[in-house]
Amino acid sequence: MNEKPEKLIDKKGLRLDGRKPDELRPVKLEVGVIPNADGSAYIEQGKNRILAGVYGPREVHPKHLALQDRAVLKCRYHMAPFSVQERKSPAPSRREIEISKVIRESLEPSVFTEYYPRTMIDVFIEVLQADGGTRCASITAASLALADAGIPLKDLVVACAAGKADDTIVLDLMDEEDKLGKADVPVALMPSLNGITLLQMDGKLTHDEFETAVNMAIEGCKKIYPMQKEALKAKYVGIKEEAEE
């Protein structure tokens, strides 16, 4: 392991990777990356590399889970054994089970599940490399994968974290800030509906700091939102060009 840095914010107010407090890491999004899936997306945010794949609406398995008035949304967040410094056992940990649940609950408000009663929509998320903020990056990618699968959505869901490094509220925490920082507030947003679909926190924040952090995370989400739309368009522009050739 690397030596622990003494300070997360330097004298100029910059962070370990040279970012300003309210600056995002570089984000790269791509849609339609898994040919077999009905919808898929890939995200790079800092050193995070995450794939999301959607299958469905399809037959419910096991059958007794079927709902008569809407589709069942299922979600599995999983980290590859090689995605972190020390090998992670491939068996789902309690952390992964909880994150799978909160990701599902962050996506569900955006999906018109009532259009597909007695079916199931599966969302699979594989973290290939983790660099802090994987649940947020996963949500951003998973929502794109749902859209790519042609499932009607009320809005895209986009997520970003804010937190406290030393005494500064910062946006989009990377690994070191996540581990050594004083608080982490992941937020998922449906920007057009102004709805927060995921909100968690750990650490210690005063109410004013919390309000600042939530607002900063919302601003971060709003910066990633147009990139999501661009990535979605880019796939179809690509298809159109291919067809014209």
């Binding site: 609950e105 569900e108 210690k204 919390f210």
Partner: protein
């Protein structure tokens, strides 16, 4: 699962809320009656029972010797587990923990860990080798809504009541001595849950309110009135304004409960 009964109930609950009332006659920001009994299980190192209306939780703690984590060699270890035992609700089933019990355990864990309830450095016996491990087991005995707040309260109440054995180190051997010391406690977080039903926010949702709610938001508030842990649940959303409203409600309610319990 939606059923005919809950559809009718849902309408009733929403209509009442529009008038600022709730099914059981509470105000929107009222908690149900809260009762805490400590030290109810003699075999456990610490224990507490919380009754919140008809919701009943027992938490027992065990303190054993074990190894510290490699990244915190001089700190004791905290482990939280939650059991939704099948006798507590027709919806609970026996078997390995499902996502609901794992989420409950992790919310309780986060509230205790992030607000630093236990002075874990004082649980170190021999740096890097031996520390005390505190097991907190949450047992849900009757589910009538808001398991999160009741479990979080019960866990802190049980920890306040927890003793660990005295020991001495002789030639690298740890020997237990007679007598006990109180577990070193630094904070007393209180978790407050609000449910969003329609556009209304209600504190301490009962079971029927939970069945019709859009979403819930839980916040753990420490002795200083700061926020230490948050969890949103449910398949709905909150507006940013509602989030701030919940944080203010949580602060006020936590203060009120803290005063009542003298924590």
């Amino acid at each position: 699962m939606a059923s005919v009964v809950t559809r009718i109930k849902q309408k009733q609950i929403v209509e009442l809320l529009e008038k600022g009332k709730r099914l059981d006659g509470r105000e929107l920001t009222d908690y149900r009656e809260l009762k805490i009994d400590q030290g109810i299980i003699e075999r456990a190192e610490g224990s507490a029972r919380v009754r919140l209306g008809k919701t009943e939780i027992v938490v027992g703690t065990k303190v054993e010797m074990g190894e510290p984590f490699s990244d915190t060699p001089n700190e004791g270890v905290l482990t939280v587990n939650a059991e939704l035992v099948p006798l507590a609700s027709p919806k609970f089933e026996a078997g390995p923990p499902d996502e609901n019990s794992i989420e409950l355990a992790r919310i309780v864990d986060r509230g205790i860990r992030e607000s630093k309830v236990i002075d874990t450095e004082k649980l170190c016996i021999e740096k890097g080798k031996k520390v005390f491990v505190v097991f907190v087991d949450v047992y849900v005995l009757n589910h009538d809504g808001n398991l999160i707040d009741a479990s979080a309260l019960a866990a802190v109440a049980a920890l306040l009541n927890t003793k660990m054995s005295n020991y001495e180190v002789e030639d690298g051997e740890v020997k237990l001595k007679s007598g006990y010391t109180q577990l070193p406690i630094k904070q007393h977080p209180i978790t407050v849950t609000c449910a969003k039903i329609g556009e209304k926010l209600v504190v301490d949702p009962g079971l029927e309110e939970e069945q019709v709610m859009d979403a819930r938001l839980s916040m753990a508030i420490d002795d200083d009135g700061d926020i230490c842990a948050i969890q949103k649940g449910g398949a709905g959303y909150f507006t940013p304004e509602q989030v701030i409203e919940v944080s203010k409600l949580a602060k006020d309610k936590a203060k009120e409960i803290r005063k009542k319990l003298d924590w």
